[in-house]
Every structure is written in structure tokens, then in C-alpha cells.
């Protein structure tokens, strides 16, 4: 498994409190390069916790999370931030765009913390926007784009650095079904182009679209199935 982009080994995450909340209780999950995996489960099943661990935004209480070969729990804040900047792209349900800035500026921010020169960032941003079908919206303020376009900008921002792994948290959650369907088509197209995708969702339609489906319940994986659909 040398090409495992993400590997969770008995990863557990407990949040302090009375009583403590065991959000993940020992999860084993390996995502290889080029895969497109859906993590499905009802709310409270630990999906978001899994995303946070996979995104290097949180550390496991026990067990191990390896991102691109690096054990997250051994890294300092600076090293983990570097890992996020260089190997990950995250797409959020709420897009998290800066509305007053242009689509290209938002996308270019995906390379900001790699120390890439501004002119190169802009070029890469234009390419990434072209890839998600928004070449005509480069200079539009993000706030003036439609919901679907905004999510495309967010996807372009995740893609702009050609990261080893793209994480998507309910990427269609804030969109109507038609627009959501278009986003799904885009994600599958990216998968076909070789992008490694981990999609967190509770939407059966999204899960259906992924070749591999991991079912999460009460902090444990209850099923890990290949649906047989290829990208």
C-alpha cells in the first residue's frame, strides 16, 4: 500500500465533556491514489470528525492518521499546516468564498500558503477555473455567482494545487438537486482525470455516484463496499 494517500489505523477521536463524546471509535480506512470514495452515514455518525482528521485539521485521540505517508499525530502545527497546503484540497458545504473578491482571487488563495508567486497563482487559478467550466467567470466577484458556480469556484480552489487528495464535505448539500447533479458530474469527471476524492455525504444520490462507499455509524465503519461503478 505504498500509494495510500490516506490511511487511518484504529483512529479514534473523543471530545472531552461529561460524558466524553466518542465521535470515532477505532476506524480503519485506506484511500489509494486515484480512488473516489463516499463516506456515508446519518448525522452524528462521525463523518465530520473523519473529515477533520483526514483534512489534518484535527488529530486522533488514539490510533494513527497517515496523510501522504506522514503520521499526523507526530507533526507540529507548522508541519501539519505544510502538509495541508501541499497535499490537500478541501471543498466545504458552505463554499467559504470571500464574496467581495473575484473568482480567480478566491481560487488563487488555494496556493497562497505554498509561497507561490502571485502571477503563478493567478495563472494556475485561471487553469483550475477552466477545468471546472468557469473560464468565463474568472473576474466575477464570488458574491455575484450562482450557488452552483460558487461551489465550482470552491472546487477549483481545492484543485488548484493539484493536491494528492481532495476532500469534499457535503458538496451538494447547499444546492438544488439539478445543480447538485451537475457538481456530481464534475466530481466524477475529475475522478476520471485521476484526482483522488473522498466525499463525505448523507445523500444517497452522491453515494451512488462513487465507485466505493464506506458506511459509518456511531463512529465505526459498518460497511466498505465497491459499487462496481467505475469513474
Amino acid at each position: 500500500m505504498t500509494d495510500a494517500v490516506l490511511a487511518l489505523v484504529q483512529a479514534a477521536r473523543t471530545y472531552p465533556g461529561t460524558p466524553p463524546v466518542e465521535s470515532l471509535r477505532g476506524v480503519d480506512l485506506t484511500v489509494a491514489a486515484g480512488e473516489m470514495v463516499a463516506v456515508v452515514g446519518p448525522s452524528g455518525s462521525g463523518k465530520t470528525t473523519l473529515l477533520n482528521l483526514a483534512a489534518g485539521l484535527d488529530r486522533p485521540t488514539s490510533g494513527s492518521v497517515r496523510l501522504a505517508g506522514h503520521a499526523v499525530e507526530d507533526l507540529t502545527d507548522g508541519q501539519l499546516s505544510g502538509l495541508r497546503a501541499h497535499t490537500l484540497g478541501v471543498v466545504f458545504q458552505q463554499f467559504f468564498l470571500m464574496d467581495h473578491r473575484s473568482a480567480a482571487d478566491n481560487v488563487a488563495d488555494g496556493l497562497l500558503y505554498r509561497g507561490v508567486r502571485a502571477s503563478s497563482r493567478r495563472r494556475a487559478a485561471a487553469d483550475a477555473l477552466d477545468r471546472v467550466g468557469l473560464a468565463h467567470r474568472v473576474d466575477h466577484p464570488a458574491g455575484k455567482l450562482s450557488g452552483g458556480e460558487r461551489q465550482r469556484v470552491a472546487i477549483a480552489r481545492a484543485l488548484v494545487g493539484r493536491p494528492a487528495l481532495v476532500l469534499a464535505d457535503e458538496p451538494t448539500g447547499n444546492l438544488d438537486s439539478r445543480t447538485g447533479g451537475q457538481i456530481l458530474v464534475l466530481l466524477r469527471q475529475l475522478h476520471a482525470d485521476g484526482v483522488t476524492l473522498l466525499v463525505i455525504t448523507h445523500d444517497a444520490v452522491v453515494a451512488e455516484a462513487c465507485p466505493r462507499r464506506v458506511d459509518l455509524r456511531d463512529g465505526r465503519i459498518v460497511a466498505d463496499t465497491l459499487t462496481g461503478r467505475s469513474g
Partner: protein, 395 residues
Amino acid sequence: MRSRVRAADLLPLASIGMRSRPTRAALSTLGIAIGVAAIVGVLGITRSSQADLLARIDHLGTNLLTVANGTRIGGDEAKLPTSSATGAARTDGVLKVTATAGVPRLQVFRTDLVPAYRGGGVEVRATEPSLLDTLDGRLATGVFLNDATARYPVVVLGHDAATALGIAQVDAGTRVWLGEHWFTVAGVLRPFELAPEIDRAALIGLPVAASYFGYDGHPTRLYVRADTARTVPVAGMLARAVNPAEPNSVNVSRPSDALASRLLVADSITSLLLGLGAVTLLVGGVGVANVMVISVLERRTEIGLRRALGAARRHITVQFMTESLLLSLLGGLTGVILGAAVTHAVAAYRGWHPLVPLSAVGGGFAATLLIGVVAGVYPAVRAARLNPTDALRTA
């Protein structure tokens, strides 16, 4: 594989806050701007006025000394010897000497019809014709006394005396009623900054004072111009040179010292105003810190997003610290411009040469820098400590 931000990206990053909320940024910098403007303005105005005063003192000359009769040990008035002027002139370092004598109990009127009890304000002073040269004075109109006119009833009026008598122009027929005699007015002097007693005087020649009013030959005040470099030692030697018998009964003074003392008074007022400026600056700093704390609270998701994009804690710290610094510097810059403008306006109004001391500008900026750092520390650390997963969780 570390995350890093290019130095060139720092400024755009740090100015996101003020670009998205310019009004708030402007208001938050106002306190600092006012504080810096106060400091720069106070220092600028006092420095301009001091420079003006120094230039005036310089122009008037710091080498003028006056020698006056003092009192004896017993308390009765001492007289300067008749040879005082000669003694003073022989002193090493003395360039010019003029003897003058107050002629007491004489009144000056515009005409002989004014009752005696209406007099006052104008003193009669007898002088050598060299007074104008020694004092470096100038006439407003007419001519000064000379060796010839000093023997006749001719008078030259000091600036205030002429005003009191209502004489602005001098012609051949201008006369005043001086000590029960008609005196022809030869000229009117311009004001003397260093010898205000001359301004109030009606000046007549020593010979005419002797022949008309029984002047006894004892001067009451000598004006001495000394070599500028040796003014202080000359001042020390003059008492003995003027009155070798009773040097203690002679008062030697340097009129420019009175002007110079005004500089000291201005200094103490300046420090008071500077203190007020510093307090304003402090309050301004609190304002910036306040706005930064609010900004951090509002921009939680931005902070979370930046962390997700690869920002390390230090990048968040630097971003918000720089923003705070930028706000403060903006306030400082506005303040310096405002302060300099005020200084120029006041200087133009007062006719001074405007002078904005670089030390005030530099000090203002240094204080702003310090305030920016101090005001930014808490919000920046708070922003950096924010847990990214919490920051991204929208309510």
C-alpha cells in the same frame, strides 16, 4: 514541506479587513490620528515659535548689556559716577557705550494747555546721540538727535510715547510741551524689543538736560554693546569698570535673557500638551485593539478556511498583527499630515517660518508602531489559537 507566505502577499493579506470595512477601519484609526496630530502639532508649533524667538533674539543681538544704578547697602539710591561711560568704554570687549539719564519729575504734553494732572506715561530721558547706533534702532519717521541738536530743545519720541501723545508724523512745526518748555520733535523711533523703557521715553540731549533742567551729569543707565563671544565676561567686569568705588551698587543685566526665558516657559507648556497627546494616543490604541478583537470574532470562518488552506498558526498571528500595525500606521500617517498641516496653518497665521521637527514625526511613528504591536498581540494570538474545526463550524 512547510507552508509559507511570500512577503509580497503579506500586505494584501493584512489589508483584507480594512478593504472590506473601510469605514470601520477609518474610525478605528481616528484616535491614533488625533493623538499623533496633537503631538506633531504641539511640537511643530512650539518649535516654530521657538525658532522664531531665537531668530529674533539673534537678530536683536545677545550682546547688548545694560548698566543701571542700584541701591547702596543702606537702601538709598546709588548714583553712577559721571565717568561711568568712559570706564565702560575702556573695558576689554566693549564695542559701544551710550549713557542715558532719566530726568525725573518732568511731564510731556501735546500742548501747553493740558492741565498738569493729566500727564503721565511718558518719561523724559537724556541721552547721547550714539543711542540709536548702540541699540541698533531705527526711526519710524524724522531724524535722531545729533551733537548739534542735543544742545537745543529738540526731542525724539519713543514709539509708545509718540502714540500716547498722538504724534504719528513729524514736520518742522511739530512740538511738545516738555517740562514747561516747547521742544521740537525731530523724529519718532520704532519699538525696541530689548529696551522697552526707551519706547516710553521722550529723548533729549544731555547738554540741554543740563542747561534746562539742571541735570547733574550722573547717568542712570548705560547701554553697552559687547563683543558677542565675550558678552558674559564683559558683563562680569562692567560693574567694577563703571564704579570702581562701589561695584556692588551697579546692576548689570542682559535684556535678551528675558526673551530667552520665554523659551523655558514654552517648554513646560509643551510637555503638558505632549502628555495629553500621549493619553489620546493610548486611547486610540485601545480603539484599534477593540476593533481587532471584533474583527477576529467576525472572521472566524475566514480564519478556519485559511487554516484548512494550509496556514500555520504563525501565519494567522502575522496576518492579524500586520493588520493591527497597518491600521496604527495609517492613523499615524494621517496624524502626521494633520499635525504638519496645523503647524503650517498656525505658522502662516503668526508669520513664523513653519518647522515640523523630524524627531516629532519619527517619535509619533515609533509610538504608533509600538501601539500597533501592543494592540495587535491579543487579537492575533486569539485568532491563531482558534481551533480550525470550531472556526469552520457555522452556527
